[in-house]
Symmetry: C2
């Protein structure tokens, strides 16, 4: 992709200031899985290789931009990329999720892990992508939230939380320090925005989220000086604490009714993923409905899904949404 | 267990009328898995056999009563017991959840299934249990909610919901009719209370729950004239609709803060399962905290967990909770 001859301002970055005229749109997991171009690449190369090769990972990051017409690139990586640099032996098994050979069983296992290393390939990928991105398209970096990452690294994480809360806090602290370093590395390499992915903390009680999750999330958002997005799934009972996260934008899933959502932050997401299976008419109607609800209540809004794109989604459905979003008159 | 010589009134049934002096307590999945007595039985017999043999299933239903001192027996069966009578070939694989050989892939598959048959063993189990239960201990029957059952029977149920909503409603209708017949059968055999288990409908948007779930749940509660409990996991965004279910008691998981819960119904549950891994002091404190919160806000309350007992739980922790609950002064 060639650099734009007449650089225009980024729709996404303008949205962080509430100065955008069009609604920006990107999709969680837009790089990968559901694209035939990606599937062709993957047929001959293991997933871990795709992540670790900057030319390939950069190419996958760029793939959806022209196909879908989205307003941002999202780094092709995994929320377990950082822990893999900490010494966790992670096997990304097709269709089965990650398998971790040396997961944490007991408090004693914690001492085996320290500061991550060997993730220079992530910086290189960011640099390669930035070299060809038009100025209007920012590259979004990301990390998994310490809690969500812990659910994968710890074979029985809720057991550890309540059996040995001190050890669990130790694990959270270790992951938080590494996450901050990892996001700083991404910032230095050139990302313009970052998102913290918290897929599993929404399963916690209000008081447990406040004790075991919020302080670590706050520390991350305080440490990284970049426009920021906090994605928390199943956040219906946690919105007051999500508000305190320190993120600029709150990315919410389908359990939130955006019309009732009270927040001083920007809002992202909320489009139900399963609607990607519906007919075009339904998709257009639901896209418009969400845009109108967002406009009525929120000054800052970025269109996105409720969670990552599923592998069996037809890319044309995503393209249809992007077109509808861009047609919508925001101001 | 011998019939009580001096029959006393059931703590559970009194709670439905708000006339109990002690708080009643039972545990979801109290029959089975975590008990050494059950594990010994299961070592030599496949799970499906345990369900289908009334003497064995009845024995497993009774096992926890004396061990834990709970106020109710819950039928040892599975939420997929009923669909197995509809012709679904269900294999209960240890530790992996059910595997269904002939699950529904397309709308066309629906015509293969009709009214269930061959579940006389469930009635026989209920009769055997009732023959030895003291009058103070009611037997609770149950069924899976049509939506939750559909998530298991339909290989891609959300896809079907949005790609072909008419077919999904057809499936819900079929499951609802069967569920009503199945609960009527249990009532006729002698259950005193029933619970509808809805583990997965809490993942839906408010409007989708209202369209795809609520009408069917309402029909079930309207059809079965018995004290009733509706268990809905992750219900934080659905409490107004749960209130309309028609159930007498609403069983909620840990995402609900029982102090903020507004309902005219009775309330059940809310004790965080993971606390069963905590030390005794923490368990006692948290039990008391929940009881006080329930007493402050709700006239009718049954103590229970947020979801089913995990297999690696120490039964003594459950016994400790029962003792604490029974010590608590409700009125």
């Amino acid at each position: 992709m060639a650099k734009s001859a007449t650089p225009e301002q980024s729709n996404i970055l303008l949205a962080f200031e509430g100065k955008n005229k069009k609604v920006p749109v990107w999709f969680m997991r837009q790089a990968g899985r559901y694209l035939p171009q990606y599937q062709a690449l993957k047929a001959n190369t293991p997933l871990s290789e795709l992540f670790r090769n900057p030319e390939i990972a950069g190419g996958i990051t760029l793939q959806p931009l022209e196909i879908l017409g989205v307003d941002a690139a999202i780094l092709f990586a995994d929320i377990l990329t950082m822990p893999s640099g900490m010494g966790f032996k992670i096997d990304f098994v097709n269709g089965k999720g990650p398998v971790i050979a040396n997961s944490i069983h007991h408090a004693g296992d914690l001492s085996r892990f320290g500061k991550y290393s060997g993730l220079e390939y992530v910086s290189r990928t960011i640099q390669l992508v930035n070299a060809v991105l038009p100025p209007s398209i920012p590259l979004i970096g990301f990390a998994g939230s310490p809690y969500t990452v812990a659910t994968y690294l710890c074979s029985k994480h809720t057991k550890m939380m309540y059996e040995n809360p001190k050890a669990f806090h130790q694990l959270m602290h270790l992951l938080t320090e590494n996450t901050i370093a990892y996001l700083k590395q991404q910032k230095e390499a050139g990302i313009k925005v970052f998102q913290l992915f918290d897929t599993w903390a929404g399963a916690l009680r209000h008081e447990d989220y406040e004790t075991f999750v919020l302080p670590y999330v706050q520390k991350i958002f305080k440490s990284i000086k970049l426009p920021s997005i906090y994605y928390l799934k199943n956040s219906a009972h946690l919105m007051d604490l999500m508000e305190k996260s320190g993120a600029d934008m709150l990315s919410v899933c389908e359990v939130i009714n955006i019309k009732d959502l009270k927040t001083k932050k920007g809002v992202q997401g909320n489009f139900l993923n399963s609607l990607l299976y519906a007919d075009d008419k339904t998709i257009v109607e639901e896209t418009q409905r969400l845009l109108k609800a967002a406009k009525a209540k929120h000054r800052k809004y970025i269109f996105n899904l409720s969670h990552g794109v599923m592998p069996d989604v037809n890319p044309l459905k995503l393209k249809l949404i992007v077109e509808e979003v861009h047609k919508f008159k925001w101001i």
